[in-house]
Symmetry: C2
Subunit: 461 residues, 2 copies
């Protein structure tokens, strides 16, 4: 079995396990009590805070422990916005933030705030000038992740932080995906992290609020963790989180080069071994262990099941693998194909032979799914002037498969119109055209809710 | 060392430890993922939910896991209130609820809601008729704990739930202190619990919302735990919490009788061995393992330190042991003395000899503190008609000590006036009069913020 999904959750690091077990005996009591069990618990908590603060690069009194990365994000956004209410109620976020950030922004909008979502390049990267241009007089907070969780693209946090500082706007950084690799550089104001992403236990998040940054915790008052994280502290978890962050950092520095070689290998070999694949994300400015690609004419769920049967655990941003049946907002914002999407995120200790075996297995798994779905043969050409395809009632990836088949029936410069009611087609048809070099003419919404997507076949082969 | 403070946090139960360690290997992955590590995590989570629901006496789809008892309380109150906003914005709480409930009510008040705090008897018990009388047409939610966390008094939840049901008002029960001892009876609507109170790990709370009860989670959306507890699930903690609840229940049934004998012994012997002690809380309708008493003319902090040095870890509701320097709101609502307060909550496996040793040690510890503070000699009587004592600038327990000394200088029927600016005197002077049989005449606020408390010495000795 090869687990290639550490970007979702990393298995518990041995150091985390040791620290957890050791502190179960010493860290169960209430750290606010005066008796010896309480004092011991307090000492563990203080030591963990020091270790975590050192790894993050902040003061100990700037860092609190929360129950999760999500809790850190929700608290950071709500607390920063409330404290700057007099300045205004405008928030700037990138379009590829983690859902916890976007949901926080949506909740703020639901309470009368306004949100600007800054788009990204096709690599998933925010352009710092575009981001900073979105700042306004009434901007209370800006939010930018350190690196993207789905495609691994590293964001220009340092430049954006500098610009935010100049504009007097606090910058919140969701650092959940990058903290294992190093501290986040730059003059950011607030930061969130999540222990289970770096091999710490579930149930522990970090929230950092720099000194001098205005912050007003929301919700009912509570004395613990400087009033920023209500509830009894999970000290064994916190100790394990801090100890493993330190341990993982040391290994990450040593292993980053090797992981980058392996993901470079995957980035190069996957499109060679599997036809009609798009590798997405920035090829250079990216996390060392993560890569993402999309396989045309394949549904993500079948692909994941096939890989699971072959012994590989990966994740997908395709719509058919999520409970909401919408494709990843990250892939959508990037304008890349979301069908047949696979994210590979390698564990620190991965063996090169596992990656080799993945490359052996993948082509067969994709081929099998494509055959079952009746994917088109590449390169076919016909002489029709215009073809219309009815794909109403079909779901991803079928509308794109129907389009690709129909393209084989028209002459260069001819058009295909696909009528589809699957919302994902609105993302995948333009993205497919981009990857194939055809012209996406546009879509017309029909009265029954379906849309007619028009595509012109490229002239040169 | 004897740890007598399980009402704050119980040491990890051996079953919790085993379950935690076993599930660290199986329960670290994301339970929403389709691959095998995710499916294994999901199975553990589902099994834990079944076990917890059985112990609570609810359906599995009514129970979610949260990061803490406090999180459960905050979520329960906010979600229930939001869902019944059209009915009204009035909340009824008992005056002796846990601070997480009172802080939730205060937050609601801060957003324009209204709160009725129902007082309690001197035993700490709510009268169900008084509680139900507080329900109004616009009452959106009523909150009553199953048992009090500071004095152990069991509340009439079943009767109150019946009355609330008749009035169409949902009842939220904070069951944090009682879940180890059995399910909460009656037709309650929402319930919260906290694993570290029963020997489970920190970082796990329970939230139950009965089917048919309107509930609208607040804050940013999140798919996990039915949208009621955002953030990645702490599955090893959850498994340990559920396993230990089941184990603790079995032991609690077997040990309750013995624990009640031991706390009965303490209730009887402490006032015999230590002069000027008031045992508080209901002598009969109470948790089996918990008792609370207050020692006059002693400060809680010195008492706790003395007991800690003698090897006993207990807690206190006295003002001088809390970071806010206010006495326990529970003791204040009961109208009992808050100075020199000690809460003893015995672990399930306590040995009778530990309790015997506590009884040996306690009198000396109290005597030592009293001598140092210059506590009065009981029974002295003088012939003065009226004495005024200046206690401005003195803090608990000094104003009461000054009063007790002065009483020794006046004739029966004479008066003592104590001028004090310590807020705690407003609680402790009337409560002291009650325990000593003197008449508390009243207080007059002075322009400088201090108050003059007038006490009339009882006529008969």
């Amino acid at each position: 079995m090869s687990y290639f999904d550490v970007a979702s959750a990393a298995p518990l690091h041995p150091v985390a396990r040791q620290a957890l077990q050791a502190s179960l005996d010493e860290g169960w009591a209430d750290p606010s009590r005066l008796y010896r069990e309480g004092r011991r618990a307090r000492m563990l908590l203080d030591a963990a805070r020091e270790a975590a603060a050192e790894a993050v690069g902040c003061r100990t009194d700037e860092l609190v422990f929360t129950p999760s990365g999500t809790a850190s994000v929700h608290t950071a956004v709500a607390g920063a916005l409330a404290a700057r209410r007099r300045v205004g109620r405008h928030v700037v976020v990138s379009a590829v933030e983690h859902s916890s950030v976007l949901h926080s922004a949506a909740a703020h909008e639901g309470h009368g705030g306004s949100v600007t979502e800054v788009g990204v390049e096709r690599t998933g990267a925010v352009r710092s000038d575009a981001f900073l241009k979105a700042l306004r007089e009434d901007t209370a907070l800006a939010c930018l992740q350190s690196a993207n969780h789905e495609v691994g693209t590293v964001q220009p946090v340092e430049e954006v932080a500098e610009g935010c500082r100049a504009a007097g706007v606090p910058l919140f950084v969701d650092a959940a995906q990058s903290l294992a690799w190093g501290p986040v550089p730059g003059a950011w104001s607030l930061l969130a992290g999540s222990a289970h992403k770096w091999g710490g236990p579930a149930g522990v998040g970090l929230l950092v609020v720099r000194k001098g940054v205005r912050f007003a915790p929301q919700g009912p008052g509570d004395e613990r963790e400087s009033g920023r994280a209500p509830g009894f502290e999970n000290i064994p978890g916190i100790v394990a989180a801090a100890a493993s962050l330190r341990a993982v950092r040391a290994e990450a520095v040593a292993r980053a080069g090797r992981l980058r070689e392996l993901t470079d290998l995957l980035r190069a070999r996957v499109p060679e071994l599997v036809p009609d694949v798009e590798v997405v994300g920035d090829p250079v400015r990216r996390l060392p262990h993560l890569l993402t690609f999309s396989c045309l004419y394949v549904d993500g769920e079948s692909l994941l099941h096939g890989l699971d049967r072959a012994g590989f655990s990966v994740s997908s941003g395709s719509s058919c693998t999520s409970s909401t049946l919408t494709p990843s907002h990250v892939l959508r914002a990037m304008g890349v194909v979301s069908e047949g999407n696979v994210r590979v995120s390698l564990p620190l200790g991965v063996d090169g032979s596992e990656v080799e075996r993945f490359l052996e297995v993948l082509p067969g798994v994709v081929r099998e799914v494509r055959e079952r779905l009746g994917a088109p043969v590449a390169g076919a050409a016909g002489d029709a002037e215009a073809v219309t395809v009815d794909a109403v009632g079909l779901t991803c990836p079928q509308p794109v498969i129907e389009l690709a088949r129909a393209i084989g029936r028209v002459r260069p410069g001819g058009t295909v119109t696909v009528v589809a009611d699957d919302e994902v087609a609105a993302v995948d048809i333009p993205a497919w055209c981009f990857t194939q070099g055809h012209e996406y003419v546009g879509a017309t919404r029909r009265p029954d809710g379906a849309a007619a997507y028009e595509v012109r076949r490229r002239s040169a082969p």
